[in-house]
């Protein structure tokens, strides 16, 4: 798959600042990961295509997880053996997921993401 250069539009800095501020605050407030909040903001406010929004959101997720994990390590709430075991297959899964994402048309990807949002919404609503 070739890089899709035509998808690029100039970024609106004010909207990017708003996205980071609101997205970060809401994800910290509710305890759900950045991606769920970031992707709709990246497509809605910053007009990224669905695919670019998913790819860009994951970069933010890396740093957000790095920032959050220290608290758990300090409190000793990490089972390192389990984390290592899960990582082995999740890294492979991520490759599969990313490749499927590259191959999937933008609208279908949007459809899949909206189903994910509904599942997350129901979970938050029912379990808090």
């Amino acid at each position: 798959m070739l890089p899709v250069t035509g998808e690029r539009i100039p970024m609106d800095r004010q909207r990017a600042i708003f996205t980071g501020t609101v997205g970060g605050f809401v994800s910290g407030l509710t305890g759900i990961g950045g991606g769920t909040v970031m992707v709709p903001l990246l497509t809605g406010l910053l007009k990224l295509t669905q695919r670019r929004a998913h790819a860009t959101s994951l970069v933010i997720v890396i740093f957000a997880a790095l920032a959050a994990v220290s608290q758990y390590i300090i409190r000793g709430e990490v089972d390192w053996a389990l984390a290592a075991a899960l990582t082995v297959s999740s890294v492979v899964g991520a490759q599969i997921g990313a490749r499927v994402m590259h191959a999937m048309p933008d609208r279908e990807l949007r459809l899949v993401f909206s189903v994910f949002l509904i599942v997350v919404g129901v979970r938050l609503l029912v379990f808090g």
Binding site: G24, H54, A55, A64, D79, S89, V92
Partner: protein
Amino acid sequence: MGDVIAVALIGLVGGAASGLLGVGGGTLFVPAMVLILGKEQHLAQGVSLVVIIPTAISATLTNLKGGYVDVETAKWVTPLAIAFALVGGYVAGLLDGDTLSRIFGVVVLYVGTRTLFTTWRTIRRERAAERASA
């Protein structure tokens, strides 16, 4: 042995969801560890956060090669997102977290449902147009 297979499958499915959806995968990792592996909630959250890092890096390397990462946007959004996630986490400690999450659940449900319907309609309309022109 059953546990080894369960762990492998949870990792694979969670990782694939992360790469496909552009999210960490904690939505899947945490309940799977609690319900299938019988881990305690906080421990599951800690493990999930650790696993998310290499998982997201793995997908990002492929996304970078494909040219899908909007580097300029990531540069502007990431520092603020992290700073305000810390602020949000602090504020959450002062408020009733359960109610907040439920309110936010309604918002997410609304955005998800609305996106589902508008996207579905667009896809159907395009397919109809394709059929008409064929």
